[in-house]
């Protein structure tokens, strides 16, 4: 109870801060027509929110079911897998005209394939007995390299037009999202979140470890499978919208654990999402308005996230 009250205050303050940042982002420093600025910025805000929620929630859930706080779906090779799927889809669908004409069909196929394969991969890697963190890191690196090599090999054989389509998906940006894709991704992420909300208390039990969770009547195998599907859906939707993001989830989730000060997912999951949105907004405002280059946010975030990842791995290794 006491902890919950303290956490509640902190998360409340965080939520207000994020709202304030959103207001600053939307309404200040408007160069021309406010309506125009709002439309552009609204889309960007939407994309940031989708990414923050998807990445924040999926990372926290991933940490809980895999029993570590260093790995993320992306670090396990998810992003390079995404590029591989995209490439394969473009490659295989080379002759099918409507696929190229309609970005949403392409998006749908990508997400569906991603979810299917990622669920298989995660269940295979993490479904059985718990393996060492370092082994998993190594597996992630090997998988990432493997998918990347395969992707490059396939891309060499693409014709230039196909390659152009592919490049567009690979370098999608957070500040200029495609409105249709944004709507689709948002819908998917909202659905996944709704499903997650129903499982928040079960997630708390999963955090106790498989044995205890089974003893308390959790159908471990099934719940973990469902959660892997949800994670895959969220990450796929986010990646299909703005491209791969590797380390962002790691910072956000670990900060959320410290800030929330509880293992309860009804606090850590929203805190991670809020922290994600807050840091994206703050980063974007500073970059765009102080330094004057708006499109490099993800680079900065990845840099900071990468450093943090190294810190975590080295610190764990030292113990």
């Amino acid at each position: 109870m006491r902890i919950d009250a303290k956490t509640g205050v902190r998360v409340g303050v965080l939520a207000v801060a994020v709202l304030a940042l959103a207001a600053v982002y939307l309404f200040t420093n408007v160069p021309g027509s406010l309506a125009y600025a709002l439309r552009i910025r609204g889309l960007a805000l939407g994309a940031m929110a989708v990414v923050a929620v998807a990445v924040g929630a999926s990372t926290v859930i991933f940490h809980t079911i895999t029993g570590n706080r260093v790995l993320t779906p992306s670090i396990m090779g998810f992003d390079s897998f995404y590029m591989l799927v995209s490439t394969v889809v473009v490659f295989v669908s080379g002759g099918v005209a409507f696929l190229r004409a309609d970005a949403t069909v392409m998006w749908g196929i990508q997400v569906a394939v991603m979810v299917a394969f990622a669920t298989l991969l995660f269940t295979w890697l993490f479904g059985g007995k718990r393996r060492s963190l370092h082994l998993m890191l190594l597996v992630g690196i090997v998988l990432g390299t493997f998918f990347r090599a395969l992707t490059e090999w396939l891309q060499r054989m693409l014709d230039p037009l196909d390659f152009q389509i592919l490049s567009d998906t690979a370098f999608a940006s957070m500040t200029r999202p495609d409105p249709t894709l944004l709507a689709l991704s948002a819908a998917v992420v909202v659905l996944a979140c709704a499903a997650t909300v129903a499982l928040l208390r079960t997630l708390d039990v999963l955090a106790l470890g498989r044995e205890t969770a089974v003893g308390l009547g959790v159908n471990h195998r099934r719940v973990v499978l469902i959660l892997f599907v949800l994670i895959s859906v969220m990450v796929a939707a986010s990646t299909a919208l703005v491209g791969p993001i590797l380390f962002f989830g790691l910072i956000v989730a670990n900060l959320a654990y410290s800030l929330a000060g509880t293992f309860r997912h009804r606090w850590t999951v929203p805190t991670a999402a809020l922290l994600g949105l807050g840091s994206l907004l703050a980063g974007q405002i500073i970059l765009e308005r102080v330094f004057g280059f708006g499109s490099s946010l993800s680079v900065i975030i990845e840099f900071a996230g990468g450093l943090f990842f190294l810190y975590l791995v080295l610190r764990k290794g030292a113990r």
Binding site: R201, A207, G217
Partner: protein
């Protein structure tokens, strides 16, 4: 009734449980004894559906543990594992509250709170309730896990070496508590012990495993003979009677 029917479990080639058929938990306190590696924890693992058997079935009150609803089983049967630990950082209170999860899915009712308070009381954890588990001594942590199992309030309570880490007084208190669970609350307690004298003093029935087989299944008087102890542990043990209870002298 927990019925094990021709249960076999292998780890690779090694046979940990070899065609075990046994009925447990009809009433009272059953002590499960046997040397290290006899298969006691493996048996608990299968009953607690942490492990799948290679052959045979386990039913709890007619429910096949391999197929029944996990949540329903968790309201009927609770298991304290030998190496109980959790990965999350939580307090004693948090842990004991989780014992109510099978009943209330995480939304505690007034009844849940009573069970929690009672479990904390039984294990004398009242003063430690707000401590984090990693701030406790080994024996205190062991008691916290037992409190969680008790809060689960199941008809069958399986405790794998609950005396681990406990001091003299708490060992005796634990055995008295186990007795009370059976006598006052009508639970069937199956408890893995290594000290045959505790088993002789507090159990109604003693089942012994060795090399994955049941080698003895008897009442206390029948079990506590040099002959039976020899067949279970492969060592000669003298037995004397002290105040009406047989005592094994295994110190020599």
């Amino acid at each position: 009734m927990i019925a094990l029917d021709h249960l076999t479990k292998r780890y690779g080639r090694f046979v940990a449980l070899d065609d075990v058929s046994l009925e447990l938990g009809d009433s009272g306190v059953t002590a499960l004894l046997g040397p290290n590696g006899a298969g006691k924890s493996t048996l608990f693992g299968i009953v607690g559906r942490l492990l799948g058997p290679d052959a045979g079935t386990v039913t709890v009150d007619g429910l096949d543990v391999a197929r029944a609803q996990s949540a329903e089983l968790a309201r009927t049967l609770a298991v304290l594992r030998q190496d109980a630990h959790v990965t999350a950082r939580l307090t004693v209170m948090d842990l004991v509250e989780f014992g109510r999860f099978p009943h209330s899915r995480g939304r505690l009712t007034e009844e849940d709170r009573q069970h929690i308070e009672r479990a904390l009381g039984y294990l004398e954890l009242g003063d430690l309730r707000d401590r984090f588990l990693d701030e406790l001594s080994g024996g205190q942590r062991q008691r916290a896990f037992i409190a969680m199992v008790l809060a689960q309030d199941t008809k069958y309570v399986l405790l794998d070496e609950p005396l681990n880490n406990l001091d003299l007084r708490h060992m005796a208190d634990m055995m008295k508590l186990i007795r009370r669970l059976a006598d006052d609350l009508g639970k069937a307690v199956i408890v893995v012990l290594h000290d045959v004298n505790f088993a002789a003093r507090y159990a109604d029935r003693i089942v012994a495993l060795r090399d994955g087989r049941v080698v003895a299944d008897a009442g206390v008087a029948e079990f506590m003979t040099p002959h039976v102890l020899q067949s279970v542990y492969g060592a000669h043990v003298d037995v004397r009677e002290v105040d009406g209870t047989p005592v094994a002298l295994y110190y020599s």
